[in-house]
């Protein structure tokens, strides 16, 4: 079975500081990887995805993530956060031939302080 672990449940960070959200997955087969953001009282919005190719993926709102196959990780980073980045962030994995099912990590709450 595949699982997704987000190592930090909450990350406080000051405005304009960098942030990194960690995501590790377990799977013995090829996977596709995603990061979603959930703003308060809203649905989830796709930030970025890794399907194949370059291991550094750039997404919306200045976020990027790096796929590391040997460490089975897909950490999300932003060099300078804004107050508006306060939200819940979810890492998700899809295994090939998994019926298109996305399995989500437990989420990381980012709280940006002025």
């Amino acid at each position: 079975a595949q699982s997704v672990t987000q190592l930090d449940s909450q990350v406080p960070v000051f405005e304009e500081a960098p942030v990194e959200l960690r995501c590790n997955y377990s799977s013995s087969v090829s996977v596709y990887l995603f990061w979603y953001v959930q703003y308060p009282n809203q649905g989830l919005q796709l930030l970025l995805k890794y399907l194949s190719g370059s291991t550094l993926v750039k997404g919306i709102n200045g976020f990027e993530a790096e796929f590391n196959k040997s460490q089975t990780s897909f950490h999300l980073r932003k060099p300078s956060v804004h107050i508006s980045d306060t939200a819940e962030y979810f890492c998700a994995v899809k295994k090939e031939a998994a019926g298109n099912k996305l399995t989500f990590g437990g989420g990381t709450r980012v709280l940006v302080k002025p």
Binding site: Y36, N41, L44, L51
Partner: protein
């Protein structure tokens, strides 16, 4: 235009009642999903339909019954509601090839009292 719309947005009901949540997408996607998000924000898939055919059916009590009249609609009916059913339910859609990712609705917050 809203891409994936769910109704109602909020639903408060008593234990034992039967309720439905509706979902519609106008993106031309062929696959739709229901996810449950609990109070700790954990997201778990419940069902998935591709072109009206059930393709994912996770371990969900049979009080939950999805219905897909066409590929643009996926409704969720819940019988004999229990306190533990309180959660936010998200509808999502995608093409079966996941390259484009899922598009989520804004959620239905169900509170069972």
């Amino acid at each position: 235009d809203t891409a994936v719309s769910q109704t109602p947005k909020y639903l408060v009901t008593q234990m034992g009642n039967d309720k439905s949540i509706k979902c519609e997408q106008n993106l031309g996607h062929d696959t739709m999903y229901w996810y449950k998000q609990d109070s700790k924000k954990f997201l778990k898939i419940m069902f998935s339909y591709n072109n009206k055919e059930l393709i994912i059916n996770e371990t969900v009590p049979n009080r939950f019954s999805p219905k897909s009249p066409d590929k643009a609609h996926l409704n969720l009916h819940i019988n004999s509601l229990e306190l533990g059913d309180s959660a936010v339910y998200f509808c999502a859609s995608s093409h079966l090839r996941v390259d484009y990712g899922y598009t989520f609705g804004s959620g239905t917050r169900l509170t069972v009292v």
